[in-house]
């Protein structure tokens, strides 16, 4: 099937199998490998990207469902004049990543979360990121990073 998807601000048109998952489309067809696959039960959020600005688990979206929509991945976050987008910069400043595997998903979930709740409390951050697993950080610095990003916005 042919899909027309805007990926990181670039319109694309690709022929895909109906069963192709969005995460595999991004990784294999678009060569964007920041989003990772960490589970097979829509539990971990390692695959999180933005679909029309809202965070989704791209392992649970078929590519054809994204037809006519726009997708943003960690590669496509715009830092403006800076090297890093404010959320990415906050993750670095607060050491919100270790092995990095959960990180692109965590960052995209944060971008989506803060767009809905720009001034969250710590508890709201924890609830907002409940669907994103991290084995390395114990979430402590991830929560700091999200609060830091909210403050600096």
């Amino acid at each position: 099937m042919r899909v027309n998807i805007t990926v990181n601000d670039e319109p694309r048109s690709d022929e895909v199998e109906p069963r192709l998952l969005l995460v595999h489309y991004l990784r294999e067809v678009c060569d964007l490998r920041a989003a990772n696959v960490g589970c097979d039960t829509t539990s971990c959020g390692a695959c999180t990207v933005l679909l029309d600005g809202k965070s989704v688990k791209s392992c649970t979206v078929l590519t054809v469902q994204a037809d006519g929509h726009s997708v943003t991945t960690a590669e496509g976050l715009d830092g403006g004049a800076e090297e890093l987008h404010p959320v990415q910069a906050a993750f670095r400043a607060e050491h919100g990543l270790q092995c990095g595997f959960c990180t692109p998903g965590m960052v995209m979930a944060t971008v989506g979360f803060l767009s809905e709740n720009p001034h969250p409390t710590e508890e709201e951050v924890r609830e907002g990121l409940e669907g994103n697993f991290c084995r390395c950080t114990g979430y402590h610095n991830i929560v700091r990073a999200v609060l830091h990003a909210a403050e600096s916005a």
């Binding site: 990784r27 960690a74 590669e75 050491h95 990095g100 595997f101 990180t103």
Partner: protein, 762 residues
């Protein structure tokens, strides 16, 4: 001012945050063009004879290149248990040959052109099983009615001492003796990146294998052994690794099978493990049943302690069989028992094999003794903090040798306990607890303590703990460091650059760290056992210093001066002649005509012993049994801290994993050996909502074993937090008469304990 000891942001972060790490599944490499995809048919039953395997359905499916079974892999040797002292009949074939021994045991390999084709085709391999009785329970295994390896004659893989060695008089004279059987449950390491491999054989007959691992050299050694080929014929490359936690050391049969397929088909091959496979196929952890006995005086002196361990190895004895030796090593923990002893038996069951996981054997020791202390305190009706204070080893700066062979290098356990109690405001917490109890509050407050000492950096390849480093300055002023350690989240790119920059005066952004390529770095012990900074970091600092010495000789020639008259100025990374302004030569300039590098080994006189104390605060809902972790306050003294950002990150992650073992995680089998928690939908993996922010208290007691004064920090948090949280849950219910709740303190277990205590009181 030196940057050592300061909070330095990670240089590796921008890459991970923007394009993401380059993990094995992400690899784009022309050598892997046209790779086939490897899938494993895994046993759906815990224990069965394989009657027949019919691959025809799969072979007829689209894109299937081949199906292989154990018979095809006959050229690969069986893998013996990891220690020669283990029962050698418990060998593992490269694929299950006649018998499957756990759900998830690989039975056949399916190779396809496309990844999606394999997912379907594995379902089409028809394996006929003849069920055998499954042995799931440790006691059942010990009874030996069903043997996993009949030719072994027993289910016991190895024993460390035996009942006959126990001192029948150990508790003689004790006014109080408490004994309890406690479970240190099976959990899954579950790094966010599963396992995987990519393999290709060159025209020269050499294998190049990309494998997520914790030490390429050890992984290569394992591959060489399992493939039965020469060491010169294997190159292992470590891509970015999405977490290891001890479970990615060495190589597994799936890695070997991927390499085997690539050779057989003369095509590159790739394997990416699914989470379902990972939860069944990657080694599990902990899985001990312990019996603790502690005896002492009514006024709080603990005189004697005994620890008896039953270790579940799972279906094949791997590192699991070795773990009890580490538990035994750390038996007495931080306490000055007059007498202590421990023994262990490691047995096989029809479950996933057990291996190393953050702490590996030491968390089990701490959990046992810390539970024993609380049981003792409850029995004599004394505050657990007071009992600990009364019995801790006094501070020491000369090594303290235990009867279990551990040599604690430096320690001040009382100070750690005092600090954590003060930071937690222990008195105030007890007052709040009393108030809630007086008010009949259904939400009980629990306060749990732990005091721990652990062993880090004990293991390298062999012999004395050591690690190597190569530091080279290039003519453009950049630096390359090669290390035998293997970061997978720990931040070595930053930390090792700090160490080199501090000595060489070259900015960190000009320093590149390389690791994980056995052609480039043939020797190395990898990253695990919290060894990296103390040995690998010390090696980097040593090499950097030696490089300045080498450069000094060159600079003396260049400047026609006596080497002793030269001063090395770190600010400019250059030598100048003392008192002669205007003459100087930089390290970069000295590298122009001849390579300027030093390769060196750093040897440490022994393992180091970080220590600390934790306080956990929990709310326990006495009506539902639900535990909410409110606070963890932690003193983790790992000697001198190089970069508090990294050290705190290790502590946070460690504390969370330890706490999650205490009240959330458990890998569960039913009585027939069917896994009940083989997905992230079922396995209680902790999320951000279940963890509090952690309160870290600083304490740094240097070791003299390395010039950095550093001990290991990777596992400390895990070791301290499990018993603190478990003790907190029991403490919350102590007024009801609850003395013990097994791990994890799930709502069901907590609720049952409350009911049992109430009916006993009634």
């Amino acid at each position: 001012m030196s940057i050592l000891g300061t909070r330095v942001l990670r240089t590796e972060d921008p890459r991970f945050l923007t394009i993401g790490g380059n993990y094995t599944e992400d690899l784009v490499d022309e050598r892997l063009t046209g790779a086939v995809h490897v899938f494993f048919v895994r046993s759906p039953v815990a224990h069965a004879r394989i009657v027949g395997i019919d691959p025809s359905g799969a072979l007829a499916a689209p894109g299937v290149v081949a199906v292989y079974t154990a018979a095809d892999l006959a050229d690969l040797p069986d893998v013996p248990p990891i220690l020669p002292t283990m029962n050698q009949a418990m060998k593992r074939p490269p694929l299950a040959r006649d018998v499957v021994r756990y759900v998830g045991d690989p039975v056949a390999i399916v190779v396809t052109e496309e990844a999606y084709q394999g997912e379907d085709a594995v379902e089409l391999v028809d394996v006929d099983y003849d069920a055998l009785a499954a042995v799931v329970d440790i006691d059942e295994s010990l009874a030996g009615e069903t043997l996993l390896f009949p030719e072994a004659g027993t289910n016991v893989a190895i024993e460390y001492g035996s009942e006959a060695d126990l001192d029948s008089k150990l508790f003689d004279g004790c006014e109080v003796v408490v004994k309890h059987r406690i479970v240190n449950q099976r959990i899954a390491p579950a790094p966010m990146e599963s396992r995987g491999a990519a393999a290709v054989w060159g025209d020269d007959g050499r294998l190049t294998a990309w494998i997520p691992n914790q030490g390429a050299q050890g992984t290569k050694g394992a591959m060489v052994g399992m493939l039965g080929i020469g060491a010169a014929d294997v190159r292992v490359i470590t891509p970015d690794v999405g977490g290891g936690f001890g479970a990615k050391f060495g190589a597994d049969l799936e890695h070997v099978a991927t390499a085997w397929v690539a050779r057989k088909l003369n095509r590159p091959a790739r394997w990416n493990e699914t989470r379902y496979e990972n939860l069944l196929g990657m080694t599990h952890a902990r899985a001990q049943i312990q019996t603790v006995t502690v005896g002492g005086t009514r006024d709080g002196r603990m005189e004697a302690y005994r620890l008896e361990i039953l270790q579940d190895c799972g279906g094949y004895p791997k590192i699991g069989g070795l773990l009890p030796s580490l538990t035994i090593l750390m038996t007495p923990g931080t306490y000055a028992f007059d007498r202590a002893e421990s023994i262990a038996k490691a047995i096989v069951t029809n479950t996933t094999p057990v291996g190393a996981y953050r702490g590996a054997g030491r968390p089990e020791a701490t959990a046992a003794v810390e539970r024993a202390v609380d049981l003792f305190a409850a029995e004599i009706g004394m505050d657990p903090a007071q009992v600990r204070r009364r019995n801790l080893l006094p501070p020491f700066t000369e090594p303290h040798q235990t009867k279990f062979g551990a040599v604690y290098d430096t320690g001040d356990y009382e100070a750690a306990l005092d600090r954590v109690l003060e930071a937690a405001d222990y008195e105030q917490l007890r007052a709040e607890q009393a108030k809630r109890r007086a008010n009949g509050d259904p939400i009980a407050l629990g306060i749990g303590l732990s005091s721990y000492v652990e062993v880090t950096g004990g293991g390298a390849e062999s012999g004395e703990p050591h690690e190597n480093a190569l530091v080279e300055v290039h003519p453009d002023g950049s630096v390359t460091i090669l290390t035998g350690t293997s970061p997978h989240g720990q931040g070595h790119e930053t930390a090792w650059a700090m160490l080199a920059s501090d000595v060489l005066g070259i900015p960190m952004d000009k320093i590149t760290l390389k690791w994980g390529d056995t052609d480039l770095i043939p020797r190395g012990g990898g990253t695990g056992g919290s060894r990296s900074l103390q040995q690998g970091g010390s090696a980097v600092q040593k090499a950097s210093r030696e490089l300045v010495d080498v450069a000094r000789t060159r600079a003396a020639e260049e400047l026609e001066a006596n080497p002793d008259d030269l001063q090395f100025d770190v600010a400019t990374s250059a030598f100048a002649v003392a008192g002669v302004p205007g003459t100087s030569v930089s390290l970069a300039q000295l590298a122009e005509h001849e390579r300027l590098f030093v390769e060196t080994d750093f040897f440490q006189p022994g393992a180091t012993f970080p220590f600390g104390a934790h306080v956990a605060v929990v709310d326990v809902d006495t009506e539902t049994g639900k535990v909410v972790l409110r606070r963890v306050i932690a003193v983790d003294d790992a000697g001198v801290i190089l970069n508090p950002l990294l050290a705190d990150g290790q502590r946070h992650g460690g504390i969370a994993q330890g706490a999650a073992q205490a009240f959330l995680e458990e890998f569960v089998y039913d009585a027939d050996g069917n896994p009940m928690t083989a997905s992230f939908a079922d396995y209680p993996f902790p999320s951000a909502t279940e963890m509090p922010s952690f309160e870290l208290v600083d304490m740094q007691t240097p070791t003299t074993y390395n010039p950095l004064g550093a001990k290991g920090i990777g596992e400390a948090g895990t070791i301290g937090s499990t018993p603190a949280v478990q003790n907190a849950v029991v403490d919350a219910l102590s007024h009801l008469g609850v003395r013990h709740i097994d791990l994890p303190t799930s709502p069901q277990r907590v609720w049952k304990a409350i009911q049992a205590a109430r009916s006993e009181n009634a």
